[in-house]
């Protein structure tokens, strides 16, 4: 029986490692491809500043690649894990950890590529602003990585928390649910934050005089966009650290798995939707700086409304964990 568990743990580690790197590569590849495509356009428009464009592209791609390096780290940890002291729960831990990191890297990979691409276009439009555009691009790309960092943290917690003494049922479902909550929850916020940062680069290139306001509203918009990823992390932490009583019925396991799925899937739409709202506000501030107050207000109201569906998902997840 012990040999059987060891075999299944190895299988779970290999599948988890494959999912971490496989899913994790999707976002970074799309983001880097988008950046290169925009750099092509920019070089075609202004070949004389191709050196600056290559430099911007290199710096942006170095940051955009971070999410997939997180995935690589988790994949390597899973592939070379210690299989000597394992239990049945280790199977779900390895699967969940890989799934969480793989899914969590998708949004940030795509999101980080968006400001870099727009920075290349912006530098062609305003070569005199290249330093500030590069700074905003790097700041935006780095902030867009935070949902992937949440997923990395969840994966590491799953790998290093001691689940000894917990009942197999329903803890296995709570562990898998945690992976879904944090991993899926990071997708929307990563893409949404990238959209806002992209708009920030565009706005500063279009109207350098409005750079201060554009930057401030961009950072505010990105902060609000990130909240759904935080909900995902919160539900994941509750599912990992709360001790659930042993249950023979599969219903309680499904409730915990459902809680994770509910929060994860429920966070995708609000993350992207809030990103669209802030993207539009940041974009139009550069064209109508005098309307900054109204645009910021309308952005916050729009984001709050878009956020409501994420809050519904959070409430239902909490009900599934604590009530049912």
């Amino acid at each position: 029986m012990t040999d059987d568990i060891q075999v299944w743990v190895k299988v779970a580690a290999f599948i988890g490692g494959g999912m971490a790197m496989g899913f994790g590569a999707i976002g970074a590849a799309i983001g880097e491809g988008y950046t290169a495509a925009k750099a092509n356009e920019a070089i075609a428009r202004s070949p004389q500043i191709s050196g600056d464009l290559f430099k911007t592209m290199l710096l942006g791609q170095a940051i955009a690649e971070t999410a997939s390096i997180f995935a690589l780290i988790i994949a390597m940890l899973l592939l070379f894990a210690d299989f000597s002291n394992v239990s049945t729960l280790t199977i779900s831990i390895f699967l969940s950890s890989g799934l969480c990191m793989g899914l969590g890297a998708i949004g940030s990979g795509i999101g980080s590529g968006l400001p870099t691409g727009e920075a290349c276009t912006g530098i062609v439009r305003q070569p005199g602003m290249k330093n500030r555009i590069t700074t905003i691009m790097l700041a935006g790309s780095a902030i867009a990585q935070s949902p992937a960092i949440f997923a990395l943290v969840t994966s590491l917690i799953l790998l290093f928390v001691d689940f000894t003494g917990r009942p197999v049922s329903p803890t296995w479902a709570a562990i898998i649910g945690a992976g879904f909550a944090s991993g899926l929850g990071a997708i929307g916020s990563g893409i949404g934050e990238g959209l806002v940062a992209k708009s920030g680069c565009e706005g500063i290139a279009r109207q350098p005089l409005a750079a201060t306001r554009t930057t401030n509203v961009m950072l505010l918009g990105m902060a609000v966009t990130e909240t759904t990823a935080i909900y995902g992390l919160l539900i994941a932490c509750i599912l990992i650290f709360k001790s659930f009583p042993a249950a023979e019925s599969i219903a309680s396991s499904m409730a915990l798995l459902g809680a994770g799925l509910c929060m994860g899937i429920g966070a995708i739409g609000p993350g992207i939707g809030e990103g669209f709202t802030a993207q539009s506000a940041v974009k139009w501030i550069s064209r109508s700086e005098s309307s900054t107050a109204q645009l910021t207000r309308s952005m916050l109201v729009g984001q709050a409304v878009a956020e409501s569906t994420g809050i519904y998902a959070l409430v239902i997840s909490l009900v599934l964990i604590f009530v049912i």
Binding site: G51, V124, R125, P127, R132
Partner: protein, 144 residues
């Protein structure tokens, strides 16, 4: 290419100097695995950054199909390269895994820190979060 080399030289030299300096401090405090892991991760982070820069012009100046093949090979080789220090630190006790992971992100950390420091301390570009001065904005080059 000259521009890319300058950027690489700047960030890579800062990254390796910081890693060696931090490594020596860890050595002095008897934390050899941490120091070795940090330096190992930083070396591979730098190699990855250099390879990334070297392959950029290859992807842009050629046909679409060849660019696709070059990109795929570039990513494959760079990720295989980044896996080496991770495997070494997992297998060998003389390299600390956490420090190796930190080292792998050293170039990215240096890029971000350098930008922030230049923005707030080392340049006159302090108007990022404040009102820009009128006489400075006149110097901006307007193209569109």
């Amino acid at each position: 290419m000259e521009e890319i080399r300058k950027v690489q030289k700047r960030y890579c030299s800062i990254a390796i100097t910081f890693a060696i300096f931090a490594g020596i401090i860890f050595f002095l405090f008897g934390l050899k695995p941490i120091g070795k892991g940090l330096i190992l991760g930083t070396i591979f982070s730098i190699i990855n950054f250099i390879l990334m820069g070297e392959t950029l012009p290859l992807k842009i100046g050629i046909s679409r199909n060849r660019a696709g093949v070059y990109s795929f090979l570039s990513i494959l080789s760079r990720y295989a390269l980044l896996a080496i220090p991770l495997v070494l630190s997992i297998k060998l006790a003389r390299f600390n895994i956490g420090a190796t992971v930190c080292g792998l992100f050293m170039v990215q950390l240096v890029i971000l820190t350098d930008e922030i420091l230049h923005q707030f301390y080392f340049s006159n570009r302090k108007d990022l979060f404040f009102k820009p001065k009128k006489n400075r904005t006149k110097k901006l080059l307007w193209k569109n």
